[in-house]
Subunit: 261 residues, 3 copies
Amino acid sequence: MAYETIDCTVTEGVGTITLDRPEAYNTLNDRMAEELPEAARALASDDGVRAIALTANGDAFSAGADLGALSGDGSDEARIRRIAAGLHEFVGQLVRAPKPVVTGVDGVAAGGGLGPAICGDIVLAAESARFEFAYPRMGLCGDGGSTYFLPRLVGLRRAQELVFRDEPVGAEEAAEIGLATEAVPDGDLGDRLAEEAARLAAGPTRAYAAAGRLLAGSFGTPLETQLADEADEIAELTNTTDFARGHAAFGTDESPEFAGE
Amino acid sequence: MAYETIDCTVTEGVGTITLDRPEAYNTLNDRMAEELPEAARALASDDGVRAIALTANGDAFSAGADLGALSGDGSDEARIRRIAAGLHEFVGQLVRAPKPVVTGVDGVAAGGGLGPAICGDIVLAAESARFEFAYPRMGLCGDGGSTYFLPRLVGLRRAQELVFRDEPVGAEEAAEIGLATEAVPDGDLGDRLAEEAARLAAGPTRAYAAAGRLLAGSFGTPLETQLADEADEIAELTNTTDFARGHAAFGTDESPEFAGE
Amino acid sequence: MAYETIDCTVTEGVGTITLDRPEAYNTLNDRMAEELPEAARALASDDGVRAIALTANGDAFSAGADLGALSGDGSDEARIRRIAAGLHEFVGQLVRAPKPVVTGVDGVAAGGGLGPAICGDIVLAAESARFEFAYPRMGLCGDGGSTYFLPRLVGLRRAQELVFRDEPVGAEEAAEIGLATEAVPDGDLGDRLAEEAARLAAGPTRAYAAAGRLLAGSFGTPLETQLADEADEIAELTNTTDFARGHAAFGTDESPEFAGE
């Protein structure tokens, strides 16, 4: 697929998806809703990609669905379903990808842009980033995984405050309450995102993926089932090259060189 | 039903339930355990009510079950079951009501009074409010939804601290850790509660209800199911008057006038 | 069973398990993985034991699995499975024991040592305690319940930070974010642990156990089910001696003397 609304590149083990409709605040239109899951699937299944980075060109991360493409007259249901389907396939692919995901957020991440912004294993927020639920202003509820991630990340009370008061959250506060992992200076976001993605890509990516899966499913899983899942995952990882290298380096001054296999 | 232990009024789209046994610290007796779910059901199903407020008369929000009505001699099981059944039907009706709920807490909210105090989408705590688990002092465990809400609101560790150390939490701390949304000056609670309820009642209440349902079920729901639920809810909302009005107002200086339909 | 790698004592209603391989940083070997669940089962089923304390001798709480006992050459799967099985049975017994559990953590709690350190109803951390996920350095994911407890205790974002950045967390920060209940001065850990365990053992331990069960299962349980579980547990507790004593002492200056039955 030749992408029109996004960029998708692979460099030294890092696959990067960049939202690229800056003139439209990177809002989701029909085309972007097709391209995003396509790109995520491609990176998730590419063995040469060991970490995925998600970011955006321009002043906004993403302002959500493209409202200009909607009529507001009761005829939008099919289009909203299509856009949500693409957005949800995208978020699902990122979370289920067998490799770590880091997002870099600058400007506004609102409505349908909020879920993708916060779905990463690590979320870097530029100082000028602004997280907003925003749906109620349109008479809508959340999508894009926002109602999945918000309570898990910031607790139910803060999630309710974001929904029922709908005030924007800046980068510092986002890092404090757990929407973001860290706030970084505006000019540094690109470099910091590249660094973090490179670090993750050079790490034990199969182990990261297993740990990510275990964390993602944790809240809904009974203790005994989670323990059994942990045992299965860790036992399987003892057969990897990465475990052999980690074991060999233990207690030495050397850092293991992980292969992601 | 003519209420004896509570007040229940409807004014300009806001249904307000006020606990009204101030001489008994608004403790739950048999009668209150019948009246609370009855009132909640009435407000939940009244289309003219677009937001529900819960508060209390007197110095306490509620000190829980009426211990004077219990004998402590091993003959209380049936009565406790009846009171818990009423209390639980009440909390369930509030959480499932297709409209937002705001609580206003002044004085002590302890034992069976804790769950109702913290079950709102928004919880305003007067400075002199005091949240206490309190059950262990009686040799009892939690009810009223307290063990449902506490870990979701404040995390498992803080919930355990509230249970196993059982120290009172003041309003400021409650707002900090997520028991309450906000601490307000003692004299302002009534006005602030009325304002917040009026604001919610004038909002996109169907959208609020959908978002509230999605948040409430989130922790126990797998990602893919939550995404599918979000898609269904948001698609349905595109057919509402509120979406049409939100869409029309977008990008203008006007605020949409939401109808809750 | 005569224990070689741990101590297990019962004094005045408190059962204490002490990891006792200080020369090996209390790492888990085959023997310790057999002894821990055995000791936990014994204390859980001993009616004379009303609270369980878990701590460790030496400079480390536990550095996880004994890496010296592993070859790193792809032949470790069976041994890791055995050690994880013992560790998981241990953690499961502690969480399901019908009595409260308090842990006292000094020095490093890393890898397979992390889950046991944080699984208590109350967790006391000496100032020099250090909590580390540590698995990725070995090319491994979490076990020991770490992926169950971390998101519940500190939220998903902080849990991801612990996993994907893997930096040690000191005692003060641990208490702030919810890994630990409280940070205590290094020299005081033993006394404070004994005090806290004695306080819990003198409390309404059946009620504590019921509340602990309700909190542990809360995140994965729908509201209506949690309410029904609460009603069953509290109704049953009205038939206990502890409820009778709590009820009799209510409103007096006396503290009830709880019997745990």
